[in-house]
């Protein structure tokens, strides 16, 4: 199993949702839910340690690929989360994402932690810092109201420029 002790958190986002841990877990791991709140992307997770974690575009191409590192339904899921852009992992290392799901009264506290195994500049981290609040705000709306949010966004310009400088190709 991959060692993750040397990964350091760079972005943490906490949100409380009127739901159950089981439903939040399912929303984070199934395509039927993710297509609604995650910019139309489909999550395919093989929910066991060492299993594959894939995020596909609506056209079916692999956008993010990773591996399940820790899997304790419905409490904790740790996965590698590597955007499928040429040379990205080679230049930046792997990205680690951990979801922790805890009961908080009649609600659920969901904490997302993005971590890296080396220093990453703020411009590159701006991608996740822009994306996670939109994705998880939409997930909360979906579970509480039945409707996700129509959040449209483009990758931040500063991130694309910083990646380009490192020789990482983006679409």
């Amino acid at each position: 199993m991959m060692k993750i002790d040397h990964f350091k958190p760079t972005t943490i986002y906490t949100i409380y949702i009127a739901s159950t841990p089981e439903t939040v877990w399912e929303a984070l791991t199934s395509a039927a839910f993710s297509r609604k709140y995650f910019f139309g992307l489909a999550i395919e997770a093989e929910l066991k340690v060492g299993g594959a974690f894939i995020v596909r575009t609506p056209e079916g191409t692999v956008h993010i690929s990773g591996e399940v590192i820790e899997c304790t339904p419905p409490r904790k899921l740790t996965i590698t989360w590597n955007v499928n852009w040429p040379a990205l992992v080679e230049k930046l290392g792997q990205t680690l994402v951990t979801y922790e799901i805890e009961p908080a009264g009649d609600a659920v506290r969901l904490t997302m932690t993005e971590a890296h195994d080396r220093p990453i500049c703020d411009d590159i981290l701006s991608g996740g810092r822009q994306g996670w609040p939109a994705i998880l705000s939409s997930l909360k709306s979906l579970l509480e109201t039945g409707e996700s949010l129509a959040v449209k966004m483009e990758p931040p310009r500063l991130m694309l420029e910083a990646l380009k400088k490192l020789g990482i190709e983006t679409p």
Binding site: Y13, T14, Y16, A18, D106, A107, R109, K140, T145, L149
Partner: protein, 154 residues
Amino acid sequence: MPKPEFIYVTYIETTPEKLWQALTDGDFTERYWFGVRLRSDWKPGSTFEMVRTDGSVSDAGKVVECDPPRRLAYTFVNLSEKFKDDLPALATFVIEPYGKLVKLTLTHEGFADGSKFFQGISKGWPAILSGLKSLLETGQPLEIPYAALKFEEK
């Protein structure tokens, strides 16, 4: 070490005007802010207070900026003994239309070195702003017991 700073962004299906009211009207804040009523006339330089259900003031500071329904900024610090070494820190709310949604960005900054208050607000804001979003979108706040925030844990 960079100075501690807390940033929280959320997207809400509402209007800037309704969100502004939710952030400034004591009757409204009482419903999602763990029973706290905000009390101020919202003029720059005026007093800003958080009032508990028993009428006591838990936190206090001053209004710095008030530009409805776009920008609101105030300083505050908790008045309890635990935070006696802390100074009032500046919370700035920016409200922006985002398609049919509203984007809310909170930046809380200007904490003393080694601030204990910073650790407290980092746990408090996600619960308060999640409750605010629920109340505006569903008409119901979240039922989060105060103890579930785990203020005592690092």
